[in-house]
Symmetry: C2
Subunit: 213 residues, 2 copies
Amino acid sequence: MAVRVDLNISLDGFATTTDQTPDNPFGDDWPRLVGAYASTRTFRERVMHDMSGEGSTGVDDAYARAYFTNIGAEIMGAGMFGFHSNLEDPNWQGWWGDQPPFECPVFVLTNRVPRPSLELSGTSFHFISTTPEAALKLALDAAGSRDVRIGGGASVVLDFLKAGLVDQLHVAIAPIVLGQGRQLWSELRGFETAFEVTSEIAESGTIHVTFRR
Amino acid sequence: MAVRVDLNISLDGFATTTDQTPDNPFGDDWPRLVGAYASTRTFRERVMHDMSGEGSTGVDDAYARAYFTNIGAEIMGAGMFGFHSNLEDPNWQGWWGDQPPFECPVFVLTNRVPRPSLELSGTSFHFISTTPEAALKLALDAAGSRDVRIGGGASVVLDFLKAGLVDQLHVAIAPIVLGQGRQLWSELRGFETAFEVTSEIAESGTIHVTFRR
């Protein structure tokens, strides 16, 4: 049972982009940052429900498959759930559609509580307002013998990393320089000293670095 | 004939360390940042004049060998030459000893001019105060058909990178988080778009990323 994080970051350590505009809601940087992951067969099947068999099947896909393997519960922030969008729609059920890819209990950290849980074909979203430690206890209990993933966004992940609650961090580094966004590393000096570090290059050029306790 | 840069950086993009003290003049971060390079057989032979045959001979050493191959002239800053140390010694001839590893003309950018050139067993140091473009012209003329290296430090390298004067940038990324120092990437947003990017992992865990025009 491990607490795991996976993030797409740029060579300069940015885990989120900031070039979004109303006319270009994902920005130009987003596809450069997550393109290799979003091109994998696993992402297409699991997130896009594209069962055509298209998508890359190399090293990036192996990490994408691992991403969805043995997760018993997930913790995410309000933004990753989708609370910051479609504010005008009272029936908005988040970004993830009728068939979210998580297929496990998901604990959404938000101040919009109390709020009833939401069941969507195998994924249950539970809305909580608490500390990282207390959220993790809930998620570990729900996960049983399986792992817990801290899904994102970057701020939530950073809170858990800084609190020393993460057993495995995998970063997929796109070899691009963004120069702006939310920095993953800036408050993590010496982070690697508590971990074994391994790295691997994908066919796409993505550099996969994994820190394991 | 190419203009080349090689730098050791941390996972968070720091090319220099800042934890030095009078009692610990290199700091604790420096060996973590450059240790893999300094352990190569090529570095030991070429820089330390240790001809015992010890030192690593894998991927890191291949990059170290390439570092010293086909360089016809070098440009470096005053700090890398050694002007900022041993200020009290009028005979101080820089960091690099009687047998500097460069073995070519080296153009040192400094305000301490005019100053006579210095010949040290195959390496000639020329002291100039000029723009990156003018320094590069001098170096290219001196290099003939061979390459010019912009040696460092980080500030000098950044000046040349930002001016678009570099054809090949190789960064050897130590998988460590320094959290402080001189950032390589901060002013280079989109840098990679003018280059082909390739990456390779060394036995030491060092991630070698090369940008080539």
